[in-house]
Amino acid sequence: MAFPGLLRAAIVRRACNVLLLLLAVLVLNFSLIHLAPGDPVEALVGEMGGATPELIAQLRVQYGLDQPFIVQLMVYLGNVVQGDLGVSTYYNRPVTALVLERIGPTLLLVTSSLFSAIVLGTLLGVFSAQRRRSPLSHLVTVLSLAGFSAPVFWLGIMLILMFSVAIPILPISGMSSGDSSQGIWLYCLDVGQHLVLPALTLALIYLAFYSRLSRTSMIDVLDADYVRTARAKGLSQRQVIYKHALRNAILPVVTFAGLQFGQVLSGAVLVETVFAWPGLGTLAYESILRRDAPTLLGILFFSAMIVIAMNVFTDIVYRLVDPRIKAR
Protein backbone atom coordinates (compact mmCIF):
# COMPACT_ATOMS: atom_id res chain seq x y z
CA MET A 1 0.00 0.00 0.00
CA ALA A 2 2.14 2.82 -1.26
CA PHE A 3 0.53 5.72 0.50
CA PRO A 4 2.26 9.01 -0.39
CA GLY A 5 1.69 10.55 3.05
CA LEU A 6 3.08 7.53 4.86
CA LEU A 7 6.00 7.33 2.50
CA ARG A 8 6.82 10.97 3.03
CA ALA A 9 6.63 10.53 6.79
CA ALA A 10 9.01 7.59 6.50
CA ILE A 11 11.46 9.66 4.48
CA VAL A 12 11.30 12.55 6.94
CA ARG A 13 11.84 10.20 9.87
CA ARG A 14 14.76 8.62 8.09
CA ALA A 15 16.32 12.00 7.33
CA CYS A 16 16.02 13.09 10.98
CA ASN A 17 17.62 9.82 12.01
CA VAL A 18 20.55 10.39 9.65
CA LEU A 19 21.09 13.93 10.94
CA LEU A 20 20.97 12.71 14.54
CA LEU A 21 23.53 10.00 13.80
CA LEU A 22 25.86 12.52 12.17
CA LEU A 23 25.47 14.87 15.11
CA ALA A 24 26.25 12.03 17.50
CA VAL A 25 29.42 11.16 15.56
CA LEU A 26 30.54 14.77 15.78
CA VAL A 27 29.83 15.04 19.50
CA LEU A 28 31.70 11.80 20.08
CA ASN A 29 34.60 13.07 17.97
CA PHE A 30 34.82 16.23 19.95
CA SER A 31 34.44 14.55 23.33
CA LEU A 32 37.23 12.11 22.47
CA ILE A 33 39.70 14.91 21.89
CA HIS A 34 38.44 16.66 24.97
CA LEU A 35 38.70 13.62 27.23
CA ALA A 36 42.07 12.49 25.96
CA PRO A 37 45.10 13.42 28.00
CA GLY A 38 47.04 16.31 26.48
CA ASP A 39 45.64 18.92 24.11
CA PRO A 40 46.62 20.46 20.75
CA VAL A 41 48.53 23.27 22.45
CA GLU A 42 50.64 20.82 24.43
CA ALA A 43 51.40 18.93 21.25
CA LEU A 44 52.28 22.17 19.48
CA VAL A 45 54.50 23.29 22.33
CA GLY A 46 56.14 19.89 22.35
CA GLU A 47 56.95 20.25 18.65
CA MET A 48 58.33 23.75 19.20
CA GLY A 49 60.54 22.34 21.92
CA GLY A 50 58.99 24.24 24.83
CA ALA A 51 57.46 27.66 25.36
CA THR A 52 56.95 30.21 28.11
CA PRO A 53 53.80 29.93 30.25
CA GLU A 54 52.59 33.26 28.81
CA LEU A 55 52.82 31.95 25.26
CA ILE A 56 51.03 28.75 26.25
CA ALA A 57 48.21 30.74 27.83
CA GLN A 58 48.04 32.93 24.74
CA LEU A 59 47.87 29.87 22.46
CA ARG A 60 45.07 28.42 24.59
CA VAL A 61 43.05 31.59 24.16
CA GLN A 62 43.85 31.60 20.44
CA TYR A 63 42.59 28.02 20.05
CA GLY A 64 39.57 28.72 22.24
CA LEU A 65 40.67 26.11 24.79
CA ASP A 66 39.91 28.44 27.70
CA GLN A 67 36.20 28.33 26.90
CA PRO A 68 33.83 25.87 28.63
CA PHE A 69 33.22 22.50 26.97
CA ILE A 70 29.81 23.32 25.59
CA VAL A 71 30.98 26.55 23.95
CA GLN A 72 33.91 24.76 22.33
CA LEU A 73 31.54 22.05 21.13
CA MET A 74 29.23 24.63 19.55
CA VAL A 75 32.15 26.33 17.81
CA TYR A 76 33.28 22.93 16.52
CA LEU A 77 29.82 22.04 15.23
CA GLY A 78 29.52 25.45 13.57
CA ASN A 79 32.83 24.89 11.82
CA VAL A 80 31.86 21.42 10.63
CA VAL A 81 28.61 22.74 9.13
CA GLN A 82 30.80 25.07 7.05
CA GLY A 83 32.91 22.11 5.95
CA ASP A 84 35.79 22.95 8.27
CA LEU A 85 37.04 19.87 10.13
CA GLY A 86 40.16 21.52 11.42
CA VAL A 87 43.74 21.51 10.21
CA SER A 88 46.00 18.47 10.00
CA THR A 89 48.81 18.89 12.49
CA TYR A 90 51.22 17.10 10.14
CA TYR A 91 50.38 18.41 6.67
CA ASN A 92 49.25 21.79 7.99
CA ARG A 93 46.37 21.62 5.50
CA PRO A 94 42.59 21.56 5.97
CA VAL A 95 41.47 18.06 6.93
CA THR A 96 38.45 18.23 4.60
CA ALA A 97 40.66 18.67 1.52
CA LEU A 98 43.04 15.92 2.65
CA VAL A 99 40.23 13.44 3.23
CA LEU A 100 38.41 14.26 -0.01
CA GLU A 101 41.59 13.55 -1.97
CA ARG A 102 41.78 10.06 -0.50
CA ILE A 103 38.13 9.10 -0.50
CA GLY A 104 38.00 8.09 -4.19
CA PRO A 105 40.56 5.27 -4.05
CA THR A 106 38.94 3.85 -0.91
CA LEU A 107 35.49 3.87 -2.48
CA LEU A 108 36.89 2.21 -5.60
CA LEU A 109 38.53 -0.53 -3.53
CA VAL A 110 35.61 -1.09 -1.17
CA THR A 111 32.81 -1.06 -3.74
CA SER A 112 34.61 -3.26 -6.25
CA SER A 113 35.49 -5.89 -3.65
CA LEU A 114 32.13 -5.78 -1.88
CA PHE A 115 30.25 -5.93 -5.17
CA SER A 116 32.18 -8.95 -6.44
CA ALA A 117 31.93 -10.63 -3.03
CA ILE A 118 28.16 -10.19 -2.94
CA VAL A 119 27.54 -11.33 -6.52
CA LEU A 120 29.88 -14.32 -6.38
CA GLY A 121 28.91 -15.18 -2.80
CA THR A 122 25.20 -15.16 -3.61
CA LEU A 123 25.74 -17.36 -6.66
CA LEU A 124 27.84 -19.81 -4.63
CA GLY A 125 25.23 -19.82 -1.90
CA VAL A 126 22.38 -20.41 -4.33
CA PHE A 127 24.14 -23.29 -6.07
CA SER A 128 25.21 -24.98 -2.88
CA ALA A 129 21.77 -24.61 -1.28
CA GLN A 130 20.28 -26.69 -4.08
CA ARG A 131 22.65 -29.58 -3.43
CA ARG A 132 23.23 -29.59 0.30
CA ARG A 133 25.53 -32.58 0.38
CA SER A 134 27.55 -31.79 -2.75
CA PRO A 135 31.29 -31.00 -2.71
CA LEU A 136 30.45 -27.39 -3.60
CA SER A 137 28.27 -27.16 -0.54
CA HIS A 138 31.08 -28.40 1.70
CA LEU A 139 33.45 -26.01 -0.02
CA VAL A 140 31.18 -23.11 0.92
CA THR A 141 31.20 -24.21 4.55
CA VAL A 142 34.97 -24.60 4.66
CA LEU A 143 35.50 -21.34 2.79
CA SER A 144 33.27 -19.41 5.15
CA LEU A 145 35.09 -20.74 8.21
CA ALA A 146 38.48 -19.98 6.69
CA GLY A 147 37.34 -16.55 5.58
CA PHE A 148 36.18 -15.67 9.07
CA SER A 149 39.37 -16.96 10.70
CA ALA A 150 42.05 -15.45 8.46
CA PRO A 151 43.27 -11.98 9.43
CA VAL A 152 42.65 -9.84 6.34
CA PHE A 153 46.07 -8.14 6.44
CA TRP A 154 47.81 -11.50 6.66
CA LEU A 155 45.84 -12.79 3.71
CA GLY A 156 47.04 -9.76 1.76
CA ILE A 157 50.66 -10.42 2.72
CA MET A 158 50.34 -14.06 1.71
CA LEU A 159 48.98 -12.96 -1.68
CA ILE A 160 51.93 -10.57 -2.04
CA LEU A 161 54.32 -13.41 -1.27
CA MET A 162 52.60 -15.56 -3.85
CA PHE A 163 52.43 -12.95 -6.59
CA SER A 164 55.80 -11.33 -6.08
CA VAL A 165 57.91 -14.43 -5.52
CA ALA A 166 56.10 -17.31 -7.19
CA ILE A 167 54.17 -15.72 -10.08
CA PRO A 168 55.26 -12.09 -10.49
CA ILE A 169 52.51 -10.89 -12.82
CA LEU A 170 50.61 -8.38 -10.74
CA PRO A 171 51.77 -5.14 -9.09
CA ILE A 172 51.79 -5.40 -5.30
CA SER A 173 51.88 -1.82 -4.16
CA GLY A 174 50.35 1.56 -4.92
CA MET A 175 47.49 2.47 -7.23
CA SER A 176 49.27 3.22 -10.51
CA SER A 177 52.75 3.17 -11.98
CA GLY A 178 52.76 6.95 -11.69
CA ASP A 179 52.71 7.67 -15.40
CA SER A 180 49.42 9.33 -16.27
CA SER A 181 50.58 10.70 -19.65
CA GLN A 182 49.85 7.41 -21.41
CA GLY A 183 46.22 8.26 -22.07
CA ILE A 184 43.07 7.54 -20.14
CA TRP A 185 42.55 3.92 -21.21
CA LEU A 186 46.04 2.79 -20.40
CA TYR A 187 45.79 4.62 -17.09
CA CYS A 188 42.54 2.83 -16.24
CA LEU A 189 44.14 -0.47 -17.18
CA ASP A 190 47.10 0.35 -14.97
CA VAL A 191 44.85 1.20 -12.00
CA GLY A 192 42.83 -1.94 -12.68
CA GLN A 193 45.96 -4.08 -12.50
CA HIS A 194 46.94 -2.48 -9.22
CA LEU A 195 43.43 -2.98 -7.90
CA VAL A 196 43.35 -6.76 -8.42
CA LEU A 197 45.28 -7.92 -5.37
CA PRO A 198 43.89 -5.54 -2.71
CA ALA A 199 40.34 -6.01 -3.99
CA LEU A 200 40.82 -9.78 -4.08
CA THR A 201 42.09 -9.79 -0.49
CA LEU A 202 39.13 -7.85 0.81
CA ALA A 203 36.66 -9.69 -1.40
CA LEU A 204 37.79 -13.16 -0.23
CA ILE A 205 36.88 -12.37 3.38
CA TYR A 206 33.40 -11.16 2.43
CA LEU A 207 32.89 -13.79 -0.22
CA ALA A 208 33.16 -16.31 2.58
CA PHE A 209 30.58 -14.45 4.61
CA TYR A 210 28.05 -13.87 1.84
CA SER A 211 28.22 -17.37 0.42
CA ARG A 212 27.35 -18.81 3.80
CA LEU A 213 24.68 -16.23 4.50
CA SER A 214 22.93 -16.70 1.18
CA ARG A 215 23.26 -20.48 1.44
CA THR A 216 21.47 -20.53 4.83
CA SER A 217 18.89 -18.04 3.66
CA MET A 218 18.28 -19.94 0.42
CA ILE A 219 17.83 -23.21 2.30
CA ASP A 220 15.21 -21.53 4.50
CA VAL A 221 13.40 -20.16 1.49
CA LEU A 222 13.51 -23.40 -0.50
CA ASP A 223 11.60 -25.09 2.32
CA ALA A 224 8.88 -22.43 2.29
CA ASP A 225 5.35 -23.15 1.15
CA TYR A 226 5.28 -20.70 -1.71
CA VAL A 227 8.30 -22.36 -3.30
CA ARG A 228 6.54 -25.70 -3.10
CA THR A 229 3.48 -24.04 -4.66
CA ALA A 230 5.60 -22.59 -7.44
CA ARG A 231 7.05 -26.04 -8.11
CA ALA A 232 3.60 -27.62 -7.94
CA LYS A 233 2.20 -25.35 -10.59
CA GLY A 234 4.89 -26.64 -12.92
CA LEU A 235 7.47 -23.87 -13.10
CA SER A 236 10.94 -24.85 -14.21
CA GLN A 237 13.72 -25.14 -11.66
CA ARG A 238 15.32 -21.99 -13.05
CA GLN A 239 12.11 -19.98 -12.69
CA VAL A 240 11.53 -21.23 -9.17
CA ILE A 241 15.05 -20.41 -8.07
CA TYR A 242 15.59 -17.07 -9.72
CA LYS A 243 12.09 -15.58 -9.76
CA HIS A 244 10.57 -16.89 -6.56
CA ALA A 245 13.23 -18.06 -4.16
CA LEU A 246 16.22 -15.78 -4.82
CA ARG A 247 14.19 -12.62 -4.47
CA ASN A 248 13.34 -13.56 -0.89
CA ALA A 249 16.61 -15.23 -0.05
CA ILE A 250 18.57 -12.14 -0.99
CA LEU A 251 16.94 -9.91 1.65
CA PRO A 252 19.37 -10.80 4.46
CA VAL A 253 22.24 -10.25 2.03
CA VAL A 254 21.02 -6.73 1.34
CA THR A 255 20.54 -6.04 5.04
CA PHE A 256 24.02 -7.20 5.92
CA ALA A 257 25.61 -5.33 3.03
CA GLY A 258 24.39 -2.13 4.66
CA LEU A 259 25.09 -3.14 8.24
CA GLN A 260 28.57 -4.40 7.46
CA PHE A 261 29.80 -1.46 5.47
CA GLY A 262 31.55 -0.01 8.51
CA GLN A 263 33.42 -3.26 8.98
CA VAL A 264 34.34 -3.38 5.32
CA LEU A 265 35.83 0.09 5.64
CA SER A 266 37.76 -1.15 8.67
CA GLY A 267 39.06 -4.06 6.64
CA ALA A 268 40.02 -1.59 3.93
CA VAL A 269 42.21 0.28 6.44
CA LEU A 270 44.31 -2.86 6.90
CA VAL A 271 44.32 -3.90 3.24
CA GLU A 272 45.28 -0.42 2.09
CA THR A 273 48.14 -0.39 4.56
CA VAL A 274 49.42 -3.71 3.26
CA PHE A 275 49.22 -2.70 -0.41
CA ALA A 276 50.10 0.99 0.03
CA TRP A 277 46.79 1.83 -1.65
CA PRO A 278 46.48 5.63 -1.40
CA GLY A 279 43.07 5.80 0.28
CA LEU A 280 41.63 6.79 3.64
CA GLY A 281 43.12 3.69 5.28
CA THR A 282 46.74 4.56 4.52
CA LEU A 283 45.97 8.15 5.50
CA ALA A 284 44.63 6.83 8.82
CA TYR A 285 47.72 4.67 9.31
CA GLU A 286 50.05 7.57 8.54
CA SER A 287 48.06 9.81 10.87
CA ILE A 288 48.45 7.29 13.67
CA LEU A 289 52.22 7.26 13.19
CA ARG A 290 52.24 11.07 13.17
CA ARG A 291 49.74 11.37 16.02
CA ASP A 292 47.64 13.59 13.78
CA ALA A 293 44.33 13.57 15.70
CA PRO A 294 42.35 16.11 13.59
CA THR A 295 42.97 14.09 10.42
CA LEU A 296 41.97 10.83 12.13
CA LEU A 297 38.76 12.34 13.45
CA GLY A 298 38.03 13.75 10.00
CA ILE A 299 38.48 10.28 8.52
CA LEU A 300 36.17 8.83 11.17
CA PHE A 301 33.54 11.45 10.39
CA PHE A 302 33.69 10.93 6.63
CA SER A 303 33.68 7.13 7.00
CA ALA A 304 30.63 7.33 9.23
CA MET A 305 28.98 9.47 6.55
CA ILE A 306 29.80 6.85 3.92
CA VAL A 307 28.34 4.10 6.11
CA ILE A 308 25.17 6.09 6.75
CA ALA A 309 24.78 6.83 3.04
CA MET A 310 25.29 3.15 2.33
CA ASN A 311 22.60 2.26 4.88
CA VAL A 312 20.12 4.60 3.24
CA PHE A 313 21.03 3.10 -0.13
CA THR A 314 20.44 -0.47 1.06
CA ASP A 315 17.14 0.67 2.53
CA ILE A 316 16.10 1.81 -0.91
CA VAL A 317 17.30 -1.42 -2.51
CA TYR A 318 15.42 -3.35 0.16
CA ARG A 319 12.21 -1.53 -0.73
CA LEU A 320 12.77 -2.29 -4.40
CA VAL A 321 13.40 -5.97 -3.78
CA ASP A 322 10.62 -6.49 -1.26
CA PRO A 323 7.41 -4.75 -2.32
CA ARG A 324 5.73 -5.67 0.98
CA ILE A 325 7.55 -2.98 2.95
CA LYS A 326 7.04 -0.09 0.56
CA ALA A 327 4.81 1.83 2.91
CA ARG A 328 6.61 1.08 6.13
Partner: protein
Protein backbone atom coordinates in the same frame (compact mmCIF):
# COMPACT_ATOMS: atom_id res chain seq x y z
CA UNK B 1 33.27 -28.04 28.93
CA UNK B 2 32.47 -30.38 31.77
CA UNK B 3 34.43 -33.33 30.49
CA UNK B 4 34.02 -35.12 33.85
CA UNK B 5 30.32 -35.51 33.16
CA UNK B 6 31.06 -37.61 30.10
CA UNK B 7 30.22 -41.28 30.58
CA UNK B 8 32.80 -43.90 29.65
CA UNK B 9 30.52 -46.26 27.81
CA UNK B 10 29.55 -45.35 24.28
CA UNK B 11 26.43 -47.50 23.98
CA UNK B 12 23.19 -45.74 24.93
CA UNK B 13 21.68 -46.73 28.29
CA UNK B 14 18.87 -49.27 28.07
CA UNK B 15 16.55 -47.34 30.30
CA UNK B 16 15.93 -43.76 29.24
CA UNK B 17 17.43 -41.81 32.08
CA UNK B 18 16.57 -38.16 32.28
CA UNK B 19 19.58 -36.23 31.02
CA UNK B 20 20.13 -32.58 31.76
CA UNK B 21 20.10 -30.21 28.79
CA UNK B 22 23.77 -29.44 29.38
CA UNK B 23 24.61 -33.11 29.21
CA UNK B 24 22.55 -33.61 26.11
CA UNK B 25 24.40 -30.72 24.52
CA UNK B 26 27.74 -32.23 25.51
CA UNK B 27 26.81 -35.62 24.07
CA UNK B 28 25.79 -33.89 20.87
CA UNK B 29 28.99 -31.85 20.85
CA UNK B 30 31.15 -34.90 21.46
CA UNK B 31 29.73 -36.62 18.43
CA UNK B 32 30.61 -33.65 16.22
CA UNK B 33 33.98 -34.36 14.63
CA UNK B 34 34.90 -30.84 13.55
CA UNK B 35 33.81 -29.35 16.86
CA UNK B 36 35.95 -31.86 18.79
CA UNK B 37 38.89 -31.13 16.48
CA UNK B 38 38.43 -27.44 17.22
CA UNK B 39 38.30 -28.13 20.95
CA UNK B 40 41.51 -30.19 20.84
CA UNK B 41 43.37 -27.51 18.85
CA UNK B 42 42.09 -24.83 21.19
CA UNK B 43 43.17 -26.73 24.31
CA UNK B 44 46.62 -27.32 22.76
CA UNK B 45 47.00 -23.63 21.98
CA UNK B 46 45.91 -22.69 25.49
CA UNK B 47 48.33 -25.22 26.95
CA UNK B 48 51.21 -23.74 24.96
CA UNK B 49 50.20 -20.20 25.82
CA UNK B 50 50.02 -20.96 29.55
CA UNK B 51 52.93 -23.35 30.04
CA UNK B 52 54.99 -22.69 26.92
CA UNK B 53 57.17 -19.89 28.27
CA UNK B 54 58.38 -22.11 31.13
CA UNK B 55 58.90 -25.17 28.88
CA UNK B 56 60.71 -23.19 26.19
CA UNK B 57 62.55 -20.41 28.05
CA UNK B 58 63.92 -18.42 25.10
CA UNK B 59 63.39 -14.67 25.17
CA UNK B 60 61.08 -13.44 22.41
CA UNK B 61 62.62 -9.96 22.43
CA UNK B 62 66.35 -10.66 22.45
CA UNK B 63 68.66 -11.46 19.58
CA UNK B 64 69.50 -15.15 19.83
CA UNK B 65 70.95 -16.05 16.43
CA UNK B 66 71.86 -14.58 13.06
CA UNK B 67 69.05 -12.42 11.67
CA UNK B 68 66.85 -13.89 8.94
CA UNK B 69 67.87 -17.50 9.57
CA UNK B 70 65.40 -19.73 7.73
CA UNK B 71 63.43 -22.44 9.54
CA UNK B 72 65.36 -25.65 10.19
CA UNK B 73 68.76 -24.05 9.66
CA UNK B 74 69.58 -23.65 13.34
CA UNK B 75 68.51 -24.85 16.75
CA UNK B 76 65.71 -22.26 16.48
CA UNK B 77 63.27 -24.39 14.52
CA UNK B 78 61.09 -21.74 13.02
CA UNK B 79 63.99 -19.43 12.18
CA UNK B 80 64.75 -15.91 13.32
CA UNK B 81 63.41 -12.53 12.28
CA UNK B 82 65.16 -9.46 10.90
CA UNK B 83 66.89 -8.66 14.18
CA UNK B 84 67.65 -12.25 15.11
CA UNK B 85 64.73 -12.86 17.48
CA UNK B 86 63.45 -16.41 17.77
CA UNK B 87 60.15 -16.79 15.90
CA UNK B 88 59.03 -19.78 17.98
CA UNK B 89 59.58 -17.88 21.23
CA UNK B 90 57.64 -15.00 19.71
CA UNK B 91 54.75 -17.31 18.86
CA UNK B 92 54.65 -18.82 22.32
CA UNK B 93 54.84 -15.54 24.19
CA UNK B 94 52.76 -13.59 21.70
CA UNK B 95 49.96 -16.12 22.02
CA UNK B 96 49.60 -15.23 25.67
CA UNK B 97 49.07 -11.55 24.94
CA UNK B 98 46.80 -12.13 21.95
CA UNK B 99 44.59 -14.66 23.72
CA UNK B 100 44.46 -12.71 26.98
CA UNK B 101 43.38 -9.54 25.18
CA UNK B 102 40.90 -11.52 23.10
CA UNK B 103 39.29 -12.95 26.25
CA UNK B 104 39.29 -9.62 28.09
CA UNK B 105 37.78 -7.79 25.14
CA UNK B 106 35.17 -10.50 24.63
CA UNK B 107 34.18 -10.23 28.31
CA UNK B 108 33.73 -6.47 27.95
CA UNK B 109 31.73 -7.07 24.78
CA UNK B 110 29.58 -9.58 26.65
CA UNK B 111 28.90 -7.33 29.65
CA UNK B 112 28.01 -4.26 27.58
CA UNK B 113 26.07 -6.19 24.93
CA UNK B 114 24.04 -8.30 27.36
CA UNK B 115 23.22 -5.37 29.63
CA UNK B 116 22.04 -3.14 26.80
CA UNK B 117 20.24 -5.94 24.98
CA UNK B 118 18.56 -7.21 28.17
CA UNK B 119 17.30 -3.79 29.20
CA UNK B 120 16.07 -2.97 25.68
CA UNK B 121 14.39 -6.33 25.21
CA UNK B 122 12.86 -6.50 28.66
CA UNK B 123 11.46 -3.00 29.03
CA UNK B 124 10.64 -2.24 25.40
CA UNK B 125 9.06 1.13 24.68
CA UNK B 126 11.22 4.23 24.98
CA UNK B 127 14.06 2.35 26.73
CA UNK B 128 14.28 0.01 23.77
CA UNK B 129 14.03 2.92 21.36
CA UNK B 130 16.84 4.85 23.04
CA UNK B 131 19.17 1.88 23.46
CA UNK B 132 18.62 0.77 19.88
CA UNK B 133 19.53 4.26 18.67
CA UNK B 134 22.76 3.94 20.64
CA UNK B 135 23.38 0.51 19.12
CA UNK B 136 22.71 1.85 15.65
CA UNK B 137 25.18 4.63 16.31
CA UNK B 138 27.93 2.19 17.24
CA UNK B 139 27.12 0.14 14.18
CA UNK B 140 27.65 3.12 11.93
CA UNK B 141 31.11 3.88 13.32
CA UNK B 142 33.80 1.99 11.42
CA UNK B 143 34.93 -0.08 14.39
CA UNK B 144 38.63 -0.41 13.62
CA UNK B 145 39.05 3.31 12.94
CA UNK B 146 37.26 4.17 16.16
CA UNK B 147 39.39 1.74 18.17
CA UNK B 148 42.54 3.10 16.50
CA UNK B 149 41.64 6.62 17.60
CA UNK B 150 40.79 5.57 21.16
CA UNK B 151 44.05 3.66 21.51
CA UNK B 152 46.08 6.50 20.02
CA UNK B 153 44.50 9.20 22.17
CA UNK B 154 44.57 7.24 25.44
CA UNK B 155 47.95 5.47 25.08
CA UNK B 156 48.45 1.94 23.78
CA UNK B 157 48.44 -0.06 27.00
CA UNK B 158 47.07 -3.60 26.90
CA UNK B 159 44.13 -2.55 29.08
CA UNK B 160 43.22 0.27 26.71
CA UNK B 161 43.45 -2.05 23.71
CA UNK B 162 41.06 -4.52 25.37
CA UNK B 163 38.65 -1.75 26.36
CA UNK B 164 38.73 -0.21 22.89
CA UNK B 165 37.95 -3.54 21.25
CA UNK B 166 35.19 -4.19 23.78
CA UNK B 167 33.40 -0.89 23.23
CA UNK B 168 33.34 -1.18 19.45
CA UNK B 169 32.25 -4.83 19.24
CA UNK B 170 29.17 -5.25 21.43
CA UNK B 171 26.39 -4.41 18.97
CA UNK B 172 25.80 -7.95 17.66
CA UNK B 173 25.61 -9.33 21.21
CA UNK B 174 23.17 -6.58 22.18
CA UNK B 175 20.88 -7.27 19.22
CA UNK B 176 20.85 -10.99 19.88
CA UNK B 177 20.19 -10.54 23.61
CA UNK B 178 17.38 -8.12 22.87
CA UNK B 179 15.73 -10.55 20.45
CA UNK B 180 16.02 -13.40 22.96
CA UNK B 181 14.60 -11.28 25.77
CA UNK B 182 11.67 -10.16 23.67
CA UNK B 183 10.91 -13.78 22.90
CA UNK B 184 11.36 -15.23 26.39
CA UNK B 185 9.62 -12.31 28.11
CA UNK B 186 6.30 -13.61 26.77
CA UNK B 187 6.84 -17.20 27.95
CA UNK B 188 4.48 -18.83 30.45
CA UNK B 189 7.10 -19.38 33.11
CA UNK B 190 8.12 -15.74 33.06
CA UNK B 191 4.50 -14.69 33.45
CA UNK B 192 4.17 -17.18 36.30
CA UNK B 193 7.21 -15.75 38.07
CA UNK B 194 5.80 -12.29 37.64
CA UNK B 195 2.43 -13.43 38.99
CA UNK B 196 4.01 -14.71 42.20
CA UNK B 197 5.54 -11.30 42.69
CA UNK B 198 9.06 -11.48 41.23
CA UNK B 199 10.62 -8.10 40.70
CA UNK B 200 11.97 -6.93 37.38
CA UNK B 201 15.56 -7.33 38.46
CA UNK B 202 15.00 -10.95 39.34
CA UNK B 203 13.07 -11.57 36.14
CA UNK B 204 15.91 -10.12 34.03
CA UNK B 205 18.94 -11.69 35.65
CA UNK B 206 17.66 -14.90 37.25
CA UNK B 207 14.73 -15.96 35.09
CA UNK B 208 15.22 -14.76 31.52
CA UNK B 209 19.00 -14.53 31.24
CA UNK B 210 19.74 -18.20 32.09
CA UNK B 211 17.19 -19.25 29.50
CA UNK B 212 18.78 -17.00 26.90
CA UNK B 213 22.21 -18.48 27.66
CA UNK B 214 22.73 -20.97 24.79
CA UNK B 215 22.79 -18.48 21.89
CA UNK B 216 24.74 -16.03 24.04
CA UNK B 217 27.40 -18.67 24.69
CA UNK B 218 27.73 -19.22 20.96
CA UNK B 219 27.94 -15.53 20.13
CA UNK B 220 30.50 -15.03 22.90
CA UNK B 221 32.69 -17.74 21.44
CA UNK B 222 32.51 -16.05 18.07
CA UNK B 223 33.17 -12.62 19.55
CA UNK B 224 36.31 -13.99 21.24
CA UNK B 225 37.46 -15.01 17.77
CA UNK B 226 36.66 -11.57 16.36
CA UNK B 227 38.41 -9.88 19.28
CA UNK B 228 41.57 -11.89 18.61
CA UNK B 229 41.46 -10.83 14.95
CA UNK B 230 40.83 -7.27 16.04
CA UNK B 231 43.78 -7.28 18.44
CA UNK B 232 45.93 -8.72 15.69
CA UNK B 233 44.88 -5.90 13.38
CA UNK B 234 45.61 -3.20 15.94
CA UNK B 235 49.00 -4.58 16.89
CA UNK B 236 49.81 -5.10 13.20
CA UNK B 237 49.28 -1.34 12.79
CA UNK B 238 51.61 -0.78 15.77
CA UNK B 239 48.79 0.11 18.17
CA UNK B 240 49.68 -2.12 21.06
CA UNK B 241 51.93 -2.12 24.09
CA UNK B 242 55.45 -1.72 22.65
CA UNK B 243 56.83 -4.00 25.37
CA UNK B 244 54.49 -6.90 24.74
CA UNK B 245 55.09 -9.38 21.92
CA UNK B 246 51.92 -10.37 20.07
CA UNK B 247 51.11 -12.27 16.89
CA UNK B 248 49.84 -9.23 15.03
CA UNK B 249 52.89 -7.24 16.01
CA UNK B 250 55.21 -9.97 14.71
CA UNK B 251 53.50 -9.74 11.32
CA UNK B 252 53.70 -5.96 11.36
CA UNK B 253 57.37 -5.97 12.40
CA UNK B 254 58.40 -8.51 9.78
CA UNK B 255 56.32 -7.13 6.92
CA UNK B 256 59.09 -4.94 5.41
CA UNK B 257 61.31 -8.04 5.12
CA UNK B 258 58.89 -10.45 3.46
CA UNK B 259 60.99 -10.79 0.34
CA UNK B 260 63.93 -12.05 2.43
CA UNK B 261 62.00 -14.08 4.98
CA UNK B 262 58.60 -15.55 4.29
CA UNK B 263 58.65 -17.28 7.68
CA UNK B 264 58.58 -14.10 9.74
CA UNK B 265 55.08 -13.19 8.55
CA UNK B 266 53.71 -16.63 7.76
CA UNK B 267 53.94 -18.44 11.12
CA UNK B 268 52.29 -15.78 13.30
CA UNK B 269 49.47 -15.55 10.75
CA UNK B 270 49.02 -19.32 10.82
CA UNK B 271 48.86 -19.12 14.62
CA UNK B 272 46.11 -16.48 14.51
CA UNK B 273 44.27 -18.40 11.81
CA UNK B 274 44.37 -21.69 13.71
CA UNK B 275 43.28 -20.12 16.98
CA UNK B 276 40.31 -18.30 15.48
CA UNK B 277 39.41 -21.32 13.36
CA UNK B 278 39.41 -23.57 16.43
CA UNK B 279 37.20 -21.08 18.29
CA UNK B 280 34.84 -20.96 15.30
CA UNK B 281 34.60 -24.73 15.11
CA UNK B 282 33.83 -24.93 18.82
CA UNK B 283 31.26 -22.13 18.45
CA UNK B 284 29.60 -23.87 15.51
CA UNK B 285 29.61 -27.14 17.43
CA UNK B 286 27.97 -25.47 20.43
CA UNK B 287 25.39 -23.94 18.15
CA UNK B 288 24.55 -27.35 16.70
CA UNK B 289 24.52 -28.91 20.15
CA UNK B 290 22.10 -26.32 21.49
CA UNK B 291 19.82 -26.41 18.43
CA UNK B 292 19.75 -30.02 17.23
CA UNK B 293 16.91 -29.17 14.84
CA UNK B 294 19.14 -26.91 12.78
CA UNK B 295 21.69 -29.65 12.26
CA UNK B 296 20.28 -30.92 8.99
CA UNK B 297 21.72 -27.94 7.16
Amino acid sequence: MNSKAAPDQTSPPLIAEPTSPTRQAWLMFRGNLSAMAGLVILLLILFVAILGPSLYPVSPTEMVWMPLTPPGASEYWLGTDYIGRDILAGLINGGRVTIAIGLAAASITFVIGVTIGALAGFYGGWVDNLLMRVTEFFQVLPNLLFAMIVVMLFSASLTNVAIAIGIVSWTATARLTRAEFMRIREMEYVKAERAIGARNRRLIWSVILPNAAPPLVVVSALSTGSAILFEAGLSFLGLSDPNAMSWGRMIGDNRPYILDSWWGVTFPGVAIFLTVLAICLVGDGLNDAFNPKLRQR
